[in-house]
């Protein structure tokens, strides 16, 4: 029983990170019809911003995290929108998708070339100690990651639902034309979405890198897991992304423990196939109709 609880908490912690990344996917899709296949690399990169701030500019950890987050928001949010999305989206979704695939390769190879191919250690957010709850020992790091992930999601939901700007962003996502007619600055709302994605990927990066180490290949599997989480949960619903991420983290962990490490990826992919076949809008997504 203790093992199951520990696996559950560890899975939820990992799943919270997948959820943060998957939320970024869904937000970008909802507001700007952007499918960002560089999202995994977007999570890989902020860790290197932090490492550069520490090793080359001599900052201590938390100031480096602040700088890394700011750089992520600017580069992976504003600049990404301005230099990649805006020029490509007018040609349709497919060219933009291909552009993001190319961007992913560019980012990965740039890190390998200019920083290094080796994995790098990253300072942990919490001490390597165990906390005993109800007689079961849980890793402090897992609890901290889970707590921060939940707090970030709750904060985002409050922002989207309880603030004027958040409601404007939702209106833009639902119907940009109507939102424009109501006087909502649609372009600004779309920009905010990209900036929020930049912050989310930075947060995910800082949470996951202490455990997985900073390496240029981290984006490959992270992006895939987050994409599966977004599809399974529902690509057009933030709460779907949350559910998908948490589900995927738990399923992956239990599959590794009780099936095999070799086939741990098989179960999430199987779930993806089943969802696409029988509930293509995702577990919590809504069916979208288009007029032709």
């Amino acid at each position: 029983m203790a093992d199951i609880l520990q696996l559950l908490v560890a899975g939820l912690a990992t799943g919270a990170i997948y959820a943060l990344v998957a939320i970024g996917f869904t937000l970008l899709w909802q507001t700007s019809q952007t499918i960002n296949f560089a999202q995994g690399e977007f999570v890989m990169l902020p860790a290197f911003f932090v490492l550069i701030a520490m090793s080359y500019f001599g900052l201590s950890f938390w100031p480096a995290v602040a700088v890394g987050t700011l750089v992520s928001i600017i580069v992976l949010g504003a600049l990404f929108k301005r230099l990649v999305v805006d020029p490509m989206i007018r040609h349709g979704v497919l060219p933009l998708v291909i552009a993001t695939i190319g961007l992913a390769i560019l980012m990965k190879e740039a890190v390998r070339e200019f920083y290094g191919a080796d994995a790098q250690p990253f300072p942990p957010l919490a001490a390597d100690i165990n906390v005993t709850i109800l007689g079961v020992a849980f890793a402090m790091q897992s609890l901290v990651v889970l707590a921060i992930g939940i707090a970030a999601v709750v904060a985002l939901q409050l922002f989207l639902n309880r603030t004027r700007t958040g409601r404007c962003m939702q209106a833009t996502a639902q119907n940009p034309t109507a939102a424009r007619l109501l006087g909502i600055p649609v372009e600004r709302m779309i920009l905010y979405t990209f900036l929020i994605n930049g912050a989310l990927v930075a947060l995910a990066s800082i949470l996951i890198t202490p455990i997985y180490l900073a390496k240029f290949t981290n984006g490959e599997w992270l992006g895939l897991y987050a994409f599966i989480a977004a599809i399974v949960g529902g690509f057009n619903q933030v709460r779907g992304a949350i559910a998908g991420g948490l589900l995927l983290g738990v399923v992956d962990n239990f599959a590794a423990a009780y099936l095999s490490s070799q086939y741990r990826m098989a179960l999430p992919l199987l779930i993806l196939i089943v969802v696409i076949l029988f509930r293509p809008q995702g577990l919590l997504g809504r069916i979208e109709e288009r007029t032709v």
């Binding site: 994995a119 390597d128 455990i211 390496k215 962990n253 590794a256 095999s260």
Partner: protein, 379 residues
């Protein structure tokens, strides 16, 4: 008039052609510069580069400078084969690498057919059993290291049960098979046998399995990055040790990546930059000055490989002859008094297997501390 203008041009071209034709001896490094084994491959490559720079600064081998080409296998056997073929097309004197045992297996036949000596970094036990007369190790095979660590588990740790976590590639499988045999011979029971994947990042579920086994000791046998991640996860979940391994668990890169999580791990190391040998300490200092990081055992492997080639070519052959080099290296012993850059007395047997002294070590406060020196098997 035209002839007068042509003359100087032709002369200049001939001069340039003559300069380009000045003999360089070609060495090819074909190894893991990227991919999951980049840590090991990068160290090995840098050891090679340091040796090449030193030798060239001293005049080269038989007065010919070394021209080193570097090709990246990307830790992928398919890519390794094509890169090796590319290297062979360049007609190198010797090939150095690969380090990843899977890539060695994928490429050794090409080199054997081309009759090019290759000094590998791979440690999988079977590599020297495949009849390749041109293959030479730069570190112990697992069949040498595992008996030593099994003795340590039996005699020093007095462990009756072991939980094993290993990487599912040629290196890991070979180590697991060798270890299981050695443990069985010593009546030590394997109570957990956890296989993991190369490049794996999440070990939470695997560590839960190790905890459930409740063994006297945990044996970790994976590549450096994965060892570091396993140790971090193990400490995170409070898995009790002791933790034991062979070479990779105690390597410098593992210690750097694992941080405090590496403290207390113990094991056998065939080669180490922390060996209490002055020549090794001097090499480590030069390597650190050149590359701004401390080498692990792979750096020593790459470095000594080049100097072994130099020694045989200059002192035993007096000429560049690939086949003769391979023949001479079988049964050869190089001592530091003959070639100081070999660092530790090294012997190759008739299948290319290596023999040297080795070490038992423990990680203390982020440093590898040698606790015992083990003699050569041949002594």
């Amino acid at each position: 008039m035209r002839g007068m203008k042509l003359g100087p041009v032709v002369s200049a071209l001939l001069l340039m052609a003559g300069a380009a034709g000045a003999a360089d001896v070609k060495l090819a490094y074909v190894g893991e510069i990227s991919g999951s084994i980049a840590v090991s491959g990068g160290n090995f490559r840098d050891g090679v580069i340091l040796a090449v720079e030193e030798i060239n600064a001293a005049g080269g081998i038989l007065k010919e400078k070394i021209a080193l080409s570097q090709l990246d296998t990307q830790t992928n056997p398919g890519v390794a084969r094509s890169q090796m073929q590319k290297a062979i097309d360049g007609e190198p004197y010797v090939v150095l690498g690969p380090i990843f045992s899977g890539n060695v297996k994928a490429t050794m036949q090409l080199l054997q057919q081309a009759e090019i000596p290759h000094l590998i970094g791979g440690e999988a036990g079977e590599l020297t059993t495949l009849g390749d007369r041109f293959l030479f190790r730069t570190s112990f095979g697992q069949q040498i290291g595992m008996p030593k660590i099994a003795n340590f588990i039996r005699d020093e740790l007095k462990a009756k049960t072991i939980a094993l976590i290993w990487v599912n590639n040629d290196f890991g499988k070979g180590g697991r098979d060798n270890l299981m045999k050695q443990l069985a011979e010593r009546n030590i029971k394997l109570v957990a046998d956890v296989s993991t994947e190369s490049g794996q990042v999440d070990f939470a579920a695997d560590v839960v399995k190790l905890k459930a086994a409740n063994a006297d000791a945990v044996f970790v046998y994976s590549n450096e990055e994965e060892c570091a991640r396993i140790m971090r996860e193990a400490r995170k979940q409070g898995l009790k040790g002791p933790f034991v391994g062979d070479t990779t668990l105690l390597s410098q890169k593992t210690i750097e990546l694992a941080g405090d999580a590496a403290n207390g791990v113990m094991g056998h190391v065939g080669l180490t930059a922390d060996a209490p040998i002055p020549a090794v300490a001097e090499f480590t200092a030069r390597f650190q000055k050149r590359f701004n990081y401390k080498p692990d055992h792979n750096g020593i492997k790459g470095y000594t490989a080049v100097y072994a080639v130099k020694y045989v070519t200059e002192k035993k052959l007096g000429k560049f002859d690939r086949k003769a080099l391979a023949q001479v290296m079988h049964g050869l012993t190089i001592a530091p008094k003959d070639e100081p850059a070999i660092l530790i007395e090294t012997t190759w047997d008739n299948v290319g297997e290596i023999d040297r002294i080795s070490f038992l070590a423990e990680v203390v406060n982020g440093q590898q501390k040698i606790t015992k020196i083990l003699p050569k098997l041949g002594k």
